[in-house]
Symmetry: none
Subunit: 254 residues, 2 copies
């Protein structure tokens, strides 16, 4: 059910907004306003025509006419108040922790709209690093011939290694998997894991590619790099398997 007012008087708009907030509906306002943000940082946006969205969970989103990212926002569970002043509507949103405020002052309201959205749809994301690990765990030959993977998500002294295992020659190895280009940070991450061990182990970094500086450090530290063909790996797994993995993570959810 959708309610809407076009070019409402400010007092009417204020009533409409308060009713929408009270009944926890999606609220969309188009009008001329300015915004002040105060919290971890601060910002100030002077007057202009924009789009304000307040969701039923108390999130606030402010969009200008361009860009896909909001200019200001607040996450869910904000306390939101709307009040009428002389020739102005003031919407104040308070986030509890960290303490942050958004103050929106409307001069003009072009449209207010409220709606209840019924959405039980399911959102599924493509192969994540987690799923990639799942695949590699059942196909260690894609990392190295003769490699046996022993543990997954192994908690080490200095972080959580994707895999630990034993290579063809009986050396213990730690494996770090990246879904994207491995950079200096990835190499350092793997190196950290290794340095925190008492004995020297082999380290294998698996990624679709590696940056030049990343490779330099990797070679200096005598680590191995294994190029992953993400697409080929994805094809080792059926959609069914992905859904099973998801089910494991999101267990109870419908």
């Amino acid at each position: 059910m959708i309610n809407i007012m076009l070019n409402p008087a400010l007092n009417k708009a204020c009533g409409f907004i308060n009713e929408s907030l009270r009944s926890k509906k999606l609220l969309i306002c188009i009008g001329a306003f300015n915004v002040e943000y105060l919290g971890r940082s601060s910002s100030s946006l002077s007057q202009g025509e924009r789009l304000l969205i307040v969701k039923e969970d108390g999130s606030v989103i402010i969009h200008r006419s361009y860009g896909y990212k909001p200019v200001n926002w607040q996450p869910p569970r904000c306390r939101i108040k709307c009040s009428l002043e002389v020739e102005k509507i003031i919407i104040l949103s308070e986030r509890r922790k960290p303490k942050e405020f958004l103050r929106i002052v409307f001069d003009t309201m072009h449209a207010v709209l409220s709606a209840s959205l019924t959405d039980s749809g399911r959102f599924v994301m493509g192969p994540t690093e987690d799923i990639l690990c799942e695949i590699l765990f059942s196909h260690p030959e894609y990392i190295e011939q003769g490699l046996r993977l022993v543990s997954r998500e192994k908690a080490l002294a200095s972080g959580v290694a994707d895999f630990t295992g034993v290579d063809e020659k009986g050396n213990f190895v730690i494996v770090e998997v990246k879904r994207h280009v491995a950079g200096v940070d990835s190499v350092k991450q793997l190196d950290q894991y290794l340095r925190a061990q008492s004995k020297p182990l082999r380290g294998i970094l698996c990624a679709p590619s590696i940056t030049k500086t990343g490779r330099v450090i990797l070679m200096k530290k005598n680590l191995s790099f294994r190029k992953l063909n993400i697409k080929a790996l994805s094809e080792l797994i059926t959609l069914r398997t992905i859904e099973e993995t998801l089910d494991k993570h999101f267990d109870g959810s419908p």
Copy 2:
């Protein structure tokens, strides 16, 4: 100017959307649809009632009823097409680089709205230079150990220096503060102040960072650079101070 249709027939909605895309307006659609994303990753969102926003710059934003982040999106400069199929409206958005697609299939349209937003407002992030100076004036140790600041906004022969003071060793200093990366211009500005003095003084440039060429000139002119941690400095202002500021701003609010 705002146009709107409530519960339009799909063919009417399709016409409305195409007209909005053609004339490069902000487009808002509320309806039941599913979304497929294909690109660097992939995702699939099954049927449900949601909010679709298409901006005049070709950005696409899809929001569910909860959360402040979009479930799917595309950045500006996407090519967007809308077509009518049997009992469905299909909106396809293509991002050129990297190649990515969003396919939105509407079963039902509850509302379509288009608007032109006029927004020449200015957005300013973080503590203003003024506030930054305020903080540094009460915490000169963040500029240099043992520094005593004597004056603020001191009018000199060739401009207004942010601070003048005396360093640990008794040298007179002029301090210039920048909120953003200091460049060649900032260095020259500080140098100007110093050259206009009869005696040679020390010059300290404070900024979160400095460009390479800026640093070269700075060193050549024998000036000091002090890296500012804007975030840490901001945190020297307590929340209490923020709340006082808010109170001042929002005075009447309950």
